[in-house]
């Protein structure tokens, strides 16, 4: 064997053992993160996928009234459907009432036209076994509403197993449902949620930036004491802080009592159940999320840079604007992102301190999911909220506001 051949063989050996080693390393690394991956997929990916599905699932009518659902899709939507469809409904209603699935279909149709639920129940109860005059006559003798086009349209709209019904309701686009007022309601709520989040984020920047700067520049002995004042609220439960604001701001609360005692104002001010109290409490709750990332970035900015700028003739504001501010961007970006995303999903603070016009999207998600039991609409609204968070992260990423990129 020539020396060259040996060396090639050795090279190959080394290469393959290197490959094996790196594969082993990757497997080990994967094994380390595997629990996290399992955890994430169990509590995050699967529920979100399920939620997405619930937003577009529309199974009740096709399950309870299968023949009608099948036949009515061929109807053009004008006037009334053919006698064949109506007869199918009459049969389906009887079956569904026996199987007790009629209520599920009723629930879904009631979202489209209020009162549809009891119309179905009443029809099931009174429908005769034989209908000599035909199904339409039999139905309209029970209730005249069966001769109205919109009730049949509602059934047709609900006949598919999957539909955008709940998304349409969320966007106020549903063709049916309560006419006039209330149609675009969730869009209003969406804009309100975005606006309130924006105000809170701005408030956190305005209050948090100088505070973080102050903390980063004072002597370490003071710093450790003062940082505690940022961390203590951070460690305190959100609910406790919200209730504390409740105690402070209520009509005969601490602020009003002290203000009246000192003669600053004579009648109790309306400090609670409005936008003001929500902004105050939310900004307070979110402030550490702004201060901490800013502070950690600012600590790393060498003081000499500002001195250098001054030496080169920059007045303090210009030195700040052109040197310090850009260097603090990663912290600012992280802070804005954190505050914005967490604030978007706020629920308890507006619920306790706000009035009816100050509730955010999560309030209506909860109301639909648990109070009204309209899971489909709740899912559609949740998807909406999730989509906004996605957009925000994407935009921030493109703007270079996400810390890692800037530092790289």
């Amino acid at each position: 064997m020539s020396a060259k051949a040996i060396s090639t063989e050795l090279d190959e050996l080394a290469a393959s053992s290197f490959l094996r080693a790196s594969l082993r390393k990757e497997v080990r690394l994967f094994a380390l993160v595997a629990p996290l991956l399992v955890f994430l997929s169990l509590i995050f990916v699967i529920p979100i996928g399920w939620m997405l599905l619930r937003g577009i699932e529309d199974p009740e009518v096709s399950a309870a009234l299968p023949n009608t659902a099948n036949l009515i899709q061929r109807w053009d939507g004008a006037g009334l459907p053919s006698e064949e469809v109506i007869a199918a409904l009459a049969i389906d209603i009887k079956h569904a009432a026996t199987d007790r699935t009629l209520g599920q279909a009723g629930m879904r149709l009631n979202y489209a036209i209020p009162g549809f639920q009891s119309l179905l129940m009443k029809t099931a109860e009174k429908l005769p076994e034989s209908q000599p005059g035909g199904a339409l006559v039999a139905l309209s003798e029970i209730d005249q509403r069966w001769t109205e086009n919109r009730y049949w349209l509602a059934i047709r709209d609900a006949a598919n197993k999957y539909s955008l019904f709940y998304f349409n309701s969320a966007f106020g686009l549903s063709k049916q449902g309560p006419a006039g007022d209330g149609q675009g309601f969730y869009l209003d709520v969406l804009f309100r949620t975005l606006w309130m989040t924006l105000v809170v984020t701005t408030g956190c920047v305005v209050l948090g930036y100088p505070l973080a700067y102050f903390l980063a520049t004072i002597s370490p002995a003071w710093r450790n004491i003062l940082i505690l004042f940022v961390l203590l609220p951070f460690w305190t439960s959100l609910l406790v802080r919200t209730v504390a604001w409740f105690v402070l701001l209520q009509k005969h609360g601490v602020v009003n009592d002290v203000g009246i005692y000192l003669g600053l104002w004579s009648k109790p001010l309306d400090l609670i159940y409005n936008r003001f109290s929500v902004y105050v409490a939310m900004t307070h709750v979110m402030l550490p999320f702004m201060v901490l990332p800013l502070y950690s970035v600012m600590l790393k900015i060498p003081k000499t840079y500002m001195n250098a700028a001054a030496t080169l003739g920059a007045p303090p504001f210009r030195a700040f604007r052109e040197v310090y501010l850009p260097l603090s961007f990663p912290g600012l970006g992280a802070g804005i992102l954190l505050v914005f995303i967490v604030s978007l999903g706020f629920y308890i603070t507006p619920a306790l301190l706000g009035g009816p016009a100050d509730q955010m999207l999560s309030y209506y998600i909860a109301q639909n999911a648990s109070n009204l039991g309209n899971v489909g609409l709740a899912a559609a609204l949740s998807v909406l909220l999730l989509a906004i968070v996605g957009v925000v992260i994407f935009v921030c990423g493109r703007l270079g506001l996400i810390a890692n990129r800037r530092e790289a």
Partner: protein
């Protein structure tokens, strides 16, 4: 200074205790959910404890929040937090239509429809008490002669001060129509038409700048006690309790144009240990036991024969007593089962408008 191992020990012991506490719920126990507060205290004293004494079946309690979605989820997922809940009748009606509540077998209770106050029994709801939604005012803030009707409640010129109302269309829109001059017997007929709904909201809009909204019964009393408002809409038992047992003597309940409704036991479909639940229903439906609740609460017993066990001096405070009932109107369960969703959505929209 506690060292680390001591801390760990404390934490582990605490966790063990917690686990022990939850493990104490045995299979044969009965869990009953209610809205809590003074109501639950009274139920415990007059129904739960005597029942345990009589049968040996232990009763655990849970909070009920009136959330349809949660009750439905119990029977669809098969995870039951409780077997019985003391619920609003609307949920009993919706739950029967959508088949997530148990249809009670009256023969197992040895009862018939006629044993209950007329019109109160539902297939999925065994009535326990009848309560009402009234308004009350603070006599320290409101000059006598005080308001007598919903038109007066709406009249902020004559009786200034804020009004507290429940943040729900249910038990709000009716009063808005009454304030606008609709007679009690016609309320649901009018509210069943689109024009009637518009009319109710228009009437409510007139009072809107003066309304503070509450979401729990405790808040309704708190708002009045804290003088945040001069008048509040509230449940008659809560209002009576605040005035007579919690020392808020200034609270005066108005027994005119009030809405009465039935509170009933519901059981999620497929709940385990249904036998114990039936035992409890049988026990608490005995006229004398059912009436005992009036010792603590001013809710009318829902068992017709319980009437004779009520102290005469309490009658003026009960919604279905002969002197009061002619001045009130019953809630229309079917109307709200149909319109809970759309009117809540419309109400949400309206309430958020400035």
């Amino acid at each position: 200074m506690i060292n680390m191992s001591e801390k760990l020990y404390v934490a582990v012991t605490a966790m063990g205790l917690l686990a022990g506490a939850t493990a104490a719920a045995k299979a044969e126990d009965l869990t009953i959910a209610s809205y809590g507060g003074a109501t639950e205290d009274a139920y415990r004293k007059e129904w739960y404890e005597p029942f345990t004494k009589a049968t040996g079946i232990n009763i655990l309690t849970d909070a009920f929040t009136g959330d349809v979605g949660k009750v439905r989820a119990m029977s669809t997922t098969g995870t039951y937090n409780w077997q019985l809940a003391d619920s609003e009748s609307v949920i009993a009606a919706i739950g029967c239509q959508q088949d997530f509540l148990e249809r009670f077998d009256l023969s197992r209770l040895k009862l018939t429809k006629d044993d209950f106050v007329p019109g109160s029994l539902l297939d999925c709801g065994i009535p326990d008490v009848i309560y009402s939604v009234n308004f009350a005012y603070d006599t320290n803030q409101v000059a006598e002669p005080g308001p007598k009707s919903w038109a007066d409640f709406w009249n902020v010129e004559k009786w200034p001060g804020k009004r507290a109302m429940r943040k729900s269309p249910n038990g709000t829109l009716e009063f808005a129509l009454l304030a606008d001059g609709v007679p009690m017997g016609k309320v649901y007929e009018v509210l069943g038409t689109p024009e009637g709904v518009d009319r109710a909201f228009a009437s409510l809009s007139k009072l809107k700048p003066n309304i503070v909204w509450w979401e729990t019964g405790a808040q309704s009393i708190q708002l009045l006690a804290d003088k945040e408002v001069a008048m509040t809409v509230g449940w008659n038992g809560r209002l009576y309790g605040a005035a007579h047992t919690e020392g808020q003597k200034q609270i005066k309940t108005v027994w005119n144009q009030f809405r009465w409704e039935t509170s009933m036991w519901i059981m999620p479909k497929g709940a385990p240990n249904a036998d114990a639940a039936y035992e409890f229903l049988k026990f608490s439906s005995q006229p004398e036991v059912n009436a005992a609740i009036t010792k603590h609460l001013t809710y009318s017993p829902a068992i017709a024969a319980a009437e004779k066990y009520i102290k005469p001096e309490l009658r003026s405070e009960l919604p279905t007593s002969s002197e009061n009932i002619k001045n009130g109107f019953p809630m229309d369960v079917q109307f709200w089962a149909d319109h809970q969703d759309d009117l809540t959505q419309r109400f949400n929209y309206w309430v958020a408008q400035q």
